[in-house]
Symmetry: C2
Subunit: 334 residues, 2 copies
């Protein structure tokens, strides 16, 4: 009997611990970096109504799909997209192998440090920079290049690693949704293979839940081993109309919640909210010129114009970064 009693004690201790941690989880604020307000409340109300079994708006866990844009929604996108800064660094790194770039735009300007002139060629110039710097390696080599860059590169003005220029309130939101059995996906106009090497560590989103733009690949044998070689040919553009197409291709069911910050996310939010049953759409509105950047209707990066009108007309949640967020970025890592 003594043995049985001691077993009981161990069991009861285990239960007390289990219950007390449950109690802590219940009472702890899941969104501590969000100020009280309409935006925060709309998130909590939506999660509450879709997770209560028996209520009319209940959604089974398998269907709790939430999609997030990346640039400007989960991390900063100013003064230009992080991936473009990566591509510019790659041009510099690859320049010794490309003597012809000295006389060829947009590379010549980039190598002289004149980014503005290099990008004057618009989308065509950007596409050329991306193709030259993102193709020509195997997928594994490219992954290594991205990992090394993201570990060492610093934001031009903030001087912090880009992985620390993610939005702390959005990290909490991702974790809160997952704690409520949502499956969280990134659906970004950015390159799928530029994001996958670090999204799991930074956002808790594994590679198979990242949807993005892509270039084609080709299977080849190198030294008797199969490799995938990245080709300088666009495969898929995951922006605007492309977002619902990418969601359909990669996820295969309609999300019930979508989070974006620009007109490039509008079709994703429309697609998400056009489904039956409870739906949630949220725009992050960049209103904080002091702690981050303030931009919307007239910005060339992350323009939010039509989307802002539609959000107001349809009653989507608008996050006012200045008002709604206590802090923007997480504390620096030691």
């Amino acid at each position: 009997m003594a043995r049985k009693h001691s077993l009981f004690s161990v069991l009861s201790l285990g239960f007390v611990l289990a219950f007390s941690s449950l109690a802590t989880a219940r009472t702890a604020d899941p969104l501590p970096s969000w100020n009280d307000g309409k935006a925060r409340q709309s998130i909590i109300d939506f999660v509450a109504k879709v997770t209560k079994e028996g209520l009319p708006d209940f959604v089974p866990p398998a269907e709790r799909i939430a999609v997030f844009d990346n640039d400007g929604t989960l991390w900063a996108e100013q003064p230009m997209y992080v991936q473009l800064l990566f591509a510019i660094d790659r041009v510099k790194a690859l320049a010794p192998q490309h003597p012809e770039w000295k006389d060829k735009e947009p590379f010549a300007s980039l190598l002289k440090g004149d980014v503005k002139n290099a990008l004057a060629g618009g989308e065509h110039a950007i596409l050329e920079i991306v193709m030259e710097t993102h193709a020509g390696t195997t997928t594994e080599e490219f992954e290594t290049i991205v990992k090394e860059w993201i570990a060492t590169a610093r934001h031009p003005t903030a001087k912090r690693p880009y992985t620390e220029m993610v939005y702390q309130p959005m990290l909490e939101l991702l974790a809160y949704l997952r704690a409520n059995d949502f499956k969280t996906f990134i659906v970004s106009g950015g390159g799928i293979e530029f994001m996958r090497p670090w999204t799991e560590e930074v956002y808790g989103i594994p590679p198979e839940q990242v949807v993005g733009s892509s270039i084609k690949t080709k299977l080849e044998m190198q030294d008797g081993k199969p490799v995938l070689v990245r080709l300088p040919e666009l495969d898929f553009m995951d922006d605007k109309q492309g977002k619902p197409i990418g969601i359909n291709s990669h996820i295969g069911r309609r999300p019930i919640a979508a989070f974006g910050n620009s007109d490039g996310d509008l079709q994703m939010l429309q697609w998400t909210t056009a489904g039956e049953g409870p739906r949630f759409a949220l725009y992050v509105h960049h209103t904080d010129a002091e702690r981050e950047w303030a931009y919307d209707r007239d910005s060339s990066i992350g323009r939010l114009d039509k989307g802002l009108d539609e959000a107001m007309a349809k009653g989507w949640t608008l996050v006012d970064m200045k008002q709604d967020w206590k802090i923007i970025y997480p504390a620096a890592k030691k």
Copy 2:
């Protein structure tokens, strides 16, 4: 104290139940439809070595990706691919809207019931049939069509629903891998949107873990709502060299285990086993003419020739369906 005691009793009851079900799970055979033998043992040995923390071959759960071909690996593919039987039924259903088919091959032959003649045109004829029957609807309409068909169609000779012509030993294998924290994916030459409507119910594999061939889609507004319209244009062919490309695009990391049955799966098995650390490759070999079908090197459907040689040369697991499987299909549903 009385209250405390009764709480203890409840707790202890809960624990006894929990422990006893754990004990059952531990001792119950996870692969009851598999005969003892090399194939079964190789699976169990692989799972054991990658799941034991501290051992050199341990693989963290997030990286336990297992990919499965569908036709001939998870369900029967004779006398022809199920999706082709679906397409033929669709030709009949759509014929009233296409009076021109009466004089146009391959449709004319199909409508006369002469499948052999219709398919004499080879891949081109099949592609024409698939495009005419798989495009032109919205993605939601197509999902409904597939769901209705799969619920009512019967196999031409076995007279059973196709969803009951799945391999019981493979269902057990899928469940066994998932119980060991593997994430299971389908990577099939079949149409991604032909599989997704039923894979979750039949295999426990959700839509977002299905990779397959696809046609293009286009975002349109219909009655003020966004829809995705299916276009008669091939987007991606997920077969042979396409399988590693599809895996890279949809999953973004290399699987550690791959399961197939034909030369169309060879590149997937090569890609999987070319990674570092413990790897597992398995071919289902159709050897049972009585309970299923016997075919390999000379079959036009599911040919296993080069793959058979490579499996033997490299020591991959070969499942001899006749010897290794106690039963082929699950019992009929009531």
